[in-house]
């Protein structure tokens, strides 16, 4: 996966090999979310992103987003019923178990779930699409240590399947654990060198 975004932040130029995890760190407001949103083609931008050699601009945007799934720090919900977002099937149950979510969550109204439960449900919702690339914005910000490790195990599993991950994280321990590649963002530009 090769990216060339460019707008409020950037220009950026980087590759993330299939099955690898690029961790992006940087202070709040450095442009990390802007970068992820551009990669998901959610904001206007110059430049292009390619997935397995196929350019985003060359395919309908919704097909791109089904393969390059962006998980925002605060996931959105279009109704108050969890089942309107995620069907209750074997795939969902399996992913929920891996994320440490109790099965009852499916029947709860969204507003009653904790922030951490919502974050993990959004991950389940995204992983159901079997994306080729995952753009994760602070996926574990509301999770405790043990649950964070469960989510990281899920991330490693999808990486084994060839999915590339771009992870924005404030947690340096998590960055150490997950990163195959690391970049630091400041004022809309990468600083420092590749590790």
């Amino acid at each position: 996966m090769r990216a060339l975004g460019n707008a409020h932040a950037g220009p950026f130029e980087f590759d993330v090999p299939a099955g690898a995890c690029l961790v992006i760190t940087g202070m709040s407001g450095a442009g990390k979310s802007v970068l992820l949103r551009m990669m998901a083609d959610l904001d206007p931008h110059q430049g292009d992103v390619a997935l397995d050699g196929r350019f985003c601009s060359a395919m309908p945007a919704h097909r791109w987003r089904r393969q390059v799934v962006y998980l925002p720090a605060e996931p959105g919900w279009w109704s108050d019923s969890v089942l309107d977002h995620i069907p209750d099937d074997v795939l969902t149950r399996g992913l929920m178990a891996k994320a440490g979510l109790r099965a009852g969550v499916l029947n709860d109204p969204v507003h009653r779930l904790s922030t951490g439960e919502r974050q993990r449900l959004a991950l389940v919702r995204g992983l159901r699409l079997a994306p080729r690339a995952l753009l994760m914005d602070e996926p574990c910000s509301a999770l405790d240590e043990a649950t964070t490790l469960m989510v990281e195990a899920m991330m490693r599993e999808v990486m084994t399947g060839g999915t590339a991950i771009v992870l924005v994280s404030h947690d340096s321990a998590q960055a150490m654990r997950m990163a195959d590649l690391r970049r630091e963002l400041a004022n809309g530009h990468f600083v420092g060198v590749d590790s």
């Binding site: 309908p60 919704h62 925002p72």
Partner: protein, 264 residues
């Protein structure tokens, strides 16, 4: 068919009622007496002017004069449809979409009415065309502005929900579908209420007018039915067009939500 004509005494009585309401507002310190009096004067001037202009236009039976009056009405509607909305598009698009939807909805149903049910001779006869357009235009304008207003205020509030759908691979039509439908439904509620209440709770305006003007109540009810159907259809067209166009303007060809197209 002898219409009951009103004399000076009747008009004074109307003025007396307004003064009475204003006095009541003073006594109850509602603070609306000023607005009330201004609105009443404005209404009286507008209506008397309209009456005089129509009297003049009906006397001429000129197509161009009729078209001029209609053009004026459409411009006023285009301005009004976009007013009183908190969230708005940039002005050209805001008034463009509002005006276009209102006019399209109105023109279609006016033509349907003039060419089928009413069939005046000639079909563009001012005495029929102008009041018909006025009646329908006012209704379609309401529906269109309600529809736009609902969509515009919901889109900014529901940003996260819309993007959640986009993120999961929905097209912009799929992501905004439920908002569009909700806007159209909201826009049609007043019309639906009006239809449900027609004849039972209220005697609708057209029917009342026809009866007061001396028409047989049964015939008047048929008039009301046809006009009400035209109103609903016009409202539906106007509300749907404005919701679809507004949602298209708030997204782009890459299926992104473009709240930057809202006026700041």
């Amino acid at each position: 068919m002898t219409p009951i004509l009103l004399n000076t005494g009747d008009m004074l009585m109307a003025a007396g009622l307004i003064v009475g309401c204003a006095a009541l507002s003073l006594v109850l310190s509602l603070g609306i007496h000023r607005t009330l009096v201004v609105a009443a004067i404005r209404m009286a001037v507008q209506l008397v002017l309209t009456g005089s202009v129509l009297l003049f236009v009906f006397g001429r039976s000129s197509v161009w004069l009729t078209l001029l009056v209609l053009a004026f009405m459409f411009s006023a509607a285009t301005f009004e449809v976009g007013s009183r909305q908190v969230a708005r598009l940039t002005p050209a698009w805001h008034f463009g979409i509002g005006g276009f939807s209102t006019m399209t909805g109105t023109i279609i149903v006016v033509l349907v009415g003039l060419l089928t049910a009413l069939q005046p001779h000639p079909w563009y006869q001012a005495r029929t065309a102008i009041p018909m357009t006025g009646l329908l235009l006012g209704n379609v304008m309401n529906a269109t502005s309600l529809s736009m207003n609902t969509l515009l205020s919901m889109v900014s509030r529901e940003r996260a929900a819309i993007e959640a759908r986009l993120i999961l691979g929905a097209t912009r039509a799929e992501a905004m579908n439920s908002l569009i439908r909700q806007s159209i439904r909201t826009a049609l509620i007043p019309t639906l209420n009006q239809m449900a209440a027609a004849g039972v709770i209220t005697l609708p305006g057209i029917m009342t007018g026809q009866i007061l003007a001396g028409m047989d109540p049964f015939e008047a009810s048929k008039y009301q039915i046809v006009l009400m159907s035209l109103i609903v259809s016009g409202n539906m067209i106007g509300a749907t067009l404005s919701a679809v166009l507004t949602s298209a303007r708030l997204s782009d060809a890459r299926g992104r939500l473009r709240l930057d197209h809202l006026a700041r």
